[in-house]
């Protein structure tokens, strides 16, 4: 593929494009890692927040508050640079970026899903109890299947936030779209000036994010949305 791109576009454009395509794989992989990790932790925190125990509710609430109020950049610095220096342990960029984005995503996903669960009428919980189901079984068998509908659109919408969030991981040495693009923009090679590279990078991110946000909007039109997914970054 490299030879093909170089023969089509010449140097350095062909090489740049090839490297960006290769690096895009890591952006996608890190996003998936963060989404899966954030989803698993977020599901547990969400269960805490809707559980009957007021202690667990408070723990879940504090978790969401803490990680929604902490800038993602700070999480990356603390986990990627601070923790290794403080404990003397080696933390590779994959672990650090994955962990920081997991913490970030879990807080938001927990909140989005709690909103979707809150939209289910209380009678459904009572019905579950009347059938003799305990809290977890009611949640799993009665509430969640109904809540998925309203949670789908904001969850897909939040994936866009995760992808955009991965663009910060280069700061702790993660090798992704952003880090490759930045290196080329800083190199004094004609044809890779900052005003060419960054629009190209933007197109790459746009190609990843726009289908997801369109899909999220389509889902919202079809299924409705029980919670708002926050957007920024």
């Amino acid at each position: 593929m490299k030879e093909l791109l170089v023969s089509l576009l010449g140097k350095p454009e062909g090489i740049v494009l090839f490297q960006l395509i290769m690096a895009a794989r890591f952006t996608v992989l890190l996003s998936l890692l963060a989404f899966v990790g954030g989803g698993l932790v977020g599901a547990i925190i969400c269960a805490f927040r809707v559980s009957p125990s007021s202690l667990l509710q408070r723990v879940g609430g504090a978790y969401v508050w803490l990680f929604q109020s902490t800038p993602l950049l700070m999480l990356l610095f603390i986990i990627g640079l601070g923790l290794p220096k403080f404990t003397g342990l080696e933390v590779n960029p994959w672990t650090a970026a994955g962990l920081a984005l997991t913490l970030y995503a879990s807080a938001y996903l927990a909140e989005v899903w709690r909103g979707a669960i809150a939209a289910i009428p209380a009678g459904q919980w009572e019905a579950g109890r009347a059938l003799g189901l305990n809290f977890l079984r009611t949640l799993r068998l009665v509430i969640v299947p109904q809540a998925v509908r309203g949670a789908l659109a904001p969850t897909v919408g939040f994936m866009v936030q995760i992808i955009k969030g991965t663009s910060l991981a280069y700061i702790i040495g993660f090798h992704d779209l952003m880090s490759v693009g930045k290196r080329w923009a800083n190199a004094s090679v004609p044809g890779t000036e900052a005003f060419l590279i960054y629009p190209l990078l933007a197109l790459f991110y746009f190609a990843l994010c726009f289908p997801l946000s369109s899909y999220s909007r389509w889902l919202e039109g079809r299924l409705g949305s029980a919670a708002r997914s926050p957007a920024a970054a």
């Binding site: 109020s69 902490t70 800038p71 993602l72 950049l73 700070m74 610095f77 603390i78 640079l81 601070g82 923790l83 220096k85 403080f86 404990t87 003397g88 866009v160 955009k164 969030g165 663009s167 910060l168 700061i171 952003m178 693009g181 930045k182 923009a185 000036e193 900052a194 005003f195 060419l196 590279i197 960054y198 629009p199 990078l201 933007a202 991110y205 746009f206 994010c209 726009f210 946000s213 708002r228 926050p230 957007a231 920024a232 970054a233």
Partner: protein, 225 residues
């Protein structure tokens, strides 16, 4: 493996640096949010009125802002544009420009939702009272849209504030930059960024408190029981 926070708070130079950085971060966020809100209002108005051509153009602008990372936008504005057009600005001006543009994309979607949700009965009542389209838009629809969307605008503002640390990457002396400097002198990376996180959370709480007061002042009827 022991905390040495005192290396930060016992040094007057560092404390001053943190205070200046916090002020710059807060200040540039407020400024960018103001400009962003003005641009966003223009965009939302254009899209609400379905002005041909401009509606499609602004929709593309908003989609592009919302579907690309802030850091790419920032680097393009700070390093790409000046090279292309041959101008020189201080770091903070690049940061202010790209934050304003970035904020406008997110605010405009909220404002648009507010305008679209306005009650048609209210518009008809205003028409029946003899108001022209322009006063109807500015005096009837807009205030109600802002009142309904105030909470969303608030949380969006806080959310955007938490992303502004990125401007340290182009050399703006904001709160994150102050932290990076102290880190480079003390090597207490873990403690420095824990302190920074606490300051960011503190400023967001301050913003929240101020915005709650503003809401009471602007929309007192919301608090009448």
């Amino acid at each position: 493996m022991e905390f040495r926070f005192f290396e930060i708070y016992r040094n007057a130079e560092y404390l001053l640096l943190l205070a200046k950085g916090a002020l710059l971060s807060g200040g540039i966020t407020v400024l960018a949010a103001t400009f962003g809100l003005i641009i966003a209002f223009a965009i939302a108005g254009v899209r609400f009125a379905r002005v041909p051509v401009l509606t499609q153009l602004t929709a593309t602008y908003v989609e592009f802002i919302r579907n690309t990372p802030l850091i790419v936008q920032l680097f393009f504005i700070a390093f790409g544009l000046p090279l292309l057009l041959g101008y020189e600005w201080p770091f903070w001006a690049h940061a202010l420009l790209s934050l304003s543009i970035n904020f406008s994309g997110y605010f405009s979607e909220i404002l648009r939702a507010g305008l679209e949700s306005s009650d048609s009965g209210q518009r008809e009542a205003a028409r029946a009272l003899g108001l022209r389209p322009r006063p109807i838009f500015f005096l009837v629809i807009t205030p109600v849209a802002i009142a309904t969307m105030f909470a969303s605008l608030n949380s969006q503002f806080i959310f955007l504030f938490l992303t502004t640390g990125i401007i340290s990457e182009i050399g703006v002396a904001d709160l994150t930059q102050a932290g990076l400097y102290i880190d480079s002198r003390t090597f207490r990376t873990f403690e420095v960024f824990l302190v920074l996180t606490a300051i960011y959370i503190g400023i967001s709480m301050l913003f929240k408190a101020v915005l709650a007061l503003v809401e009471r002042r602007l929309f007192p009827w919301k608090f009448v029981r």
